[in-house]
Every structure is written in C-alpha cells, then in structure tokens.
C-alpha cells in the first residue's frame, strides 16, 4: 500500500528510473521499477528543442523584404540633399550689434583728396614693381633655355640627365622673413595662441601678439 501511495505522489514529479536490482528488498523477488524524483541540477542537454524549419516560403519572404527596403531607400534618395549653411556667409549677430558702431569720424575734403592721390601713386609704384619682377623672371628663363641648348649641343646624355625631374626637391620648406632676426639661445615661454571664432581686429590686439616678433 505504501508503494502505491508513493507512486501516486511521484507521478507528477520529474522522475528518474532506478533499477530495482540495486535496492535490497526481501519482499518482492520480481523486478519492479521505482521512480525517484530528480529535483537536483539538470546535467543533460535539453533534448526537446526543434531546429528552425526552412520552408520554401522563407527565401521568397526575404526577397520581398529586401525589395521593400530598396524601394524605401530610393524614395529617400530622391529628396535633394539639404545644403549645409556656410558659416562665413552668415553675418554673425555680434557684428549687427548697434552698440559697436564707432562714433562717425568725418573725413575732411583735403584728407580724401590726399588719399585718392596716394592710391594713384601706389598703383603706379606697384605696376613698376610688377614689370621689374616679370622682366627678371623672363631673363632667368631665357638664361636657362640658353644653358639647356648649350648642354644639348655638348652632350646628349648630360642633357637627358638634366631633364629628369628631381623628386628629392619637393616638399620644399623655407621659413620666410620675419620682422626681427632670430635670437640665438632664446627660450620661448610656454603658451597657446588663443583665437576665438569671429575674431575682430582692433588696435589693442597688436600689443597681445608679441610672440609674432620672434
């Protein structure tokens, strides 16, 4: 009776079958199965999952999805791209500030005349300078052409060697002239150049940029 009772209780629980031959029981000589509940950690791999069924409909569905996505993409691409606003073309609100206008300094008539005449002088001066530059460049080019002609007559292989481009020359860097010559053994103080956006030039700035002089 106890055996039947235990069987009723244990039917609901997960059961682990044990062979009765291991158990020593004098009453029953015949083999009977006893189920032991296993509430311990599961050690076996869950063997009940089914692999994904690959039906013929699936590839079709995937193709349909891809086509739909492509159509959506095309619709989006048809819209013309938004123009990025150029920062420089937009006058900043700082410049429109009325507080910032200088008191209007009236320029006298003589001053205007003097400026106009000076501008004309300047244009004449610059033109002469430009003509002198062009002339010197032309004469240098002429000298080089003459030299190459002479070299060609003299020796063909030296001429070919002279015509080859020189790749070691570029990139060529040279520091241009500053206002004062470099000081020997000068230690520049550590610091950064601070330039804010929308930098407005004014006289007081010249005092700040002393490091440019070196």
């Amino acid at each position: 009776m106890s055996l039947a009772f235990t069987r009723c209780i244990f039917r609901g629980l997960p059961q682990y079958v044990v062979q009765q031959s291991l158990l020593v029981d004098g009453h029953n000589a015949a083999k009977s199965v006893i189920c032991v509940p296993s509430m311990t950690l599961r050690t076996t791999v869950p063997l009940r999952a089914e692999p994904k069924k690959k039906k013929k409909v699936d590839p079709k569905r995937e193709l349909m999805m891809r086509e739909r996505l492509k159509k959506r993409l095309k619709k989006l691409e048809k819209v013309p791209p938004e123009l990025i606003p150029i920062e420089d073309f937009v006058t900043s609100s700082k410049c429109m500030d009325e507080e910032r206008t200088r008191s209007a300094q009236v320029v006298s008539f003589e001053e205007n005349e003097r400026r106009a005449l000076l501008l004309k002088e300047w244009s004449r001066y610059k033109r002469e300078q430009h003509m002198a530059e062009m002339k010197s460049i032309e004469s240098a080019l002429e000298a080089q052409r003459e030299a190459l002609d002479e070299l060609k007559i003299t020796s063909e292989e030296l001429y070919q060697a002279a015509l080859k481009p020189d790749f070691s020359l570029l990139p060529f860097t040279h520091e241009g002239p500053a206002y004062t010559p470099p000081k020997s053994q000068y230690e520049a103080p550590d610091g950064n150049i601070m330039m804010q956006p929308g930098f407005i030039l004014s006289k007081s700035v010249f005092i700040m940029q002393e490091h440019c002089i070196n």
Partner: protein, 294 residues
C-alpha cells in the same frame, strides 16, 4: 634645288665612310670643314644624329650659385610707409568696436558713475566679478610685458660691413663668391669644378660646393642648369682638346645659416649690386641674368 641634292649626296658619302671605323673620325673632320664652307649646314646636324658624336673641344665645368635668402623683411620705402599708415587708418574708421574696447568703455563709465555723488552699489551686483580687474589694467600689464621683451636688432652696421659673414644684410639675398685659380689667374667667381666622366653636372656642382673649406648645407633646385658661360682660351693656350670651357650654373638655397667654422678669406657673400665690383664684366653679364634681386 641644288642644296637638297647636296644634302642627299653628303648623307650617302657619310654612310659609305662609316663602314671604315678607324679612318672615320679624321675623314669626317675633313668633311665637316668641306661642308661648312658650302651651304649645307643641315647635313652636319643629320650626321651628328646618325653617328656617335666626336668629343666636344670644350671642357665642361659646373658651378653653384648659392643664395642665402633674406632673413628679415625689408624696410618700407617712404611711399610704402605712407600707404601702410593710410590703410590702417581707413581700416580703423570702417571697423566696429571690439570686445576689448567695449569693455574699456564700460569700465570707464562705471568708474565715472562710482565717482559721482549719488551712487547706488546695489545696481552693480551682477557685475561683481568684473570689478576686480579693469580692462585698462590688463592693457598696462601687456604693455609692461612687451617692454620687457628685447628683440634682436634688425640692422647691425658692423656685421654688414664684413663681406665674408653670412649674417650681413639680413634684408637682402646674398650670393656666395669664391676666389679660385683658373688657368694661371686668380679670379673671383661662383665656386666651380671640372666635370669628371660618369657623373651628371649636378653632381659636379654638389662636389664644387663640398670642396669649399666652410661646410655649407644647401638644397639644389632641380637637375637642370640655370645658366651657362663659355669662354675660349687665348690662342697660344689652345690645344686640340681644349678650345675653352663651358661652365654650367646650378642654383641652390642655403639650408642652415649657422656659421659653424670661422669665415675664410677666400669666400664672400655679396648682394647683386656688389657683384659688379668683383666679377669680370662678361661673366657678370651672364650670371646677372639668373640672379634675381627681388
């Protein structure tokens, strides 16, 4: 009509003669004299293309035109100075007030209001932090710092007079001139050496630079020469091989201007205007073409 026939005939004769290698050069020299006397000059050119050229009677040499570019900006001419002042004035008139200037004005106003009799400090509580440092104080501090800095002097008359110092005349570009023996004369010219077999002319120029007693580092501008000067030796010295010399000039720019060794007597750094006093007139005419005084 006659000239083209003559040309054809000469070409035939050359090809016939070229089959005899040993006697070729002598016969061609004779032929050259013959053909130069008649008018088919074109024949000479075609001949030189179709055959190995006989060695040119001129010796080859390469020279380096080493320039030290200006280190500081040149002084303004009076016109340039007055124009510069005018431009700054116009710029100032057309500009707006900057942040710093606004701050100056504000501080001046506040100071005036403080010194007025009926002053209520409660109105100013939003600007408490700006009370500590006035913009004028900042300006004074900057002015002080600027005065403490001593830049190197632009013009040093004593160094300018030393013709062999590379630090002279910092506003102009200088050319290196060396005194070298050519033949039996000691002449002032751009440093040059003889060309040797198997090297390009640029390598010869580099050798010329390296042969100077003072170690100077320079960047050569390209493989092509910038000028040529050829001279014929005086008649008694002329031999078969050396009718004269052709000197090819190569431009180079001095890389580092630190004088490592004491200046030598044989080297000078000259401005273009001073070159005339040292170089021979014919040489100066050729060299002056490519040395730019800008």
């Amino acid at each position: 009509m006659a000239a083209p026939c003559g040309r054809m005939a000469s070409r035939y004769v050359i090809q016939f003669l070229s089959t005899f290698p040993r006697t070729t050069s002598r016969m061609i020299v004779g032929f050259r004299h013959f053909s130069s006397s008649c008018e088919c000059r074109v024949a000479i050119k075609t001949k030189s293309v179709s055959e190995p050229v006989s060695p040119s009677p001129y010796r080859l040499a390469a020279a380096v035109c080493l320039q030290r570019l200006p280190v500081i900006s040149a002084d303004c001419a009076p016109l340039e100075q007055s124009f510069k002042d005018m431009m700054l004035q116009i710029e100032l008139e057309k500009s707006l007030l900057s942040d710093h200037e606004l701050r100056l004005i504000e501080d001046a106003d506040r100071l005036r209001r403080k010194q007025a009799e009926d002053y209520d400090s409660d109105e100013e509580d939003s600007h408490m932090d700006q009370d500590i440092v006035l913009a004028q104080d900042l300006e004074d501090a900057w002015e002080q710092k600027f005065r403490n800095f001593q830049p190197a002097p632009r013009v040093r008359d004593d160094v300018d007079k030393e013709l062999n110092s590379v630090q002279r005349c910092l506003t102009d570009s200088l050319v290196l001139v060396a005194e070298q023996t050519v033949g039996d004369q000691k002449l002032w010219l751009l440093p040059q050496t003889q060309w040797q077999e198997g090297e390009t002319l640029r390598q010869t120029a580099e050798r010329a630079l390296a042969s100077l007693p003072v170690g100077l580092k320079a960047t050569f501008l390209g493989n092509a020469p910038c000028g040529v000067y050829k001279y014929k030796l005086p008649k008694p010295l002329r031999t078969e091989n050396s009718l004269g010399t052709k000197v090819f000039f190569f431009k180079a720019i001095l890389s580092d201007s630190s004088p490592s060794t004491p200046p030598n007597g044989g080297l000078l750094w000259l401005k273009k205007s001073e070159l005339q006093g040292y170089l021979k007139p014919a040489y100066m005419m050729k060299v002056g073409q490519f040395i730019m005084d800008l």
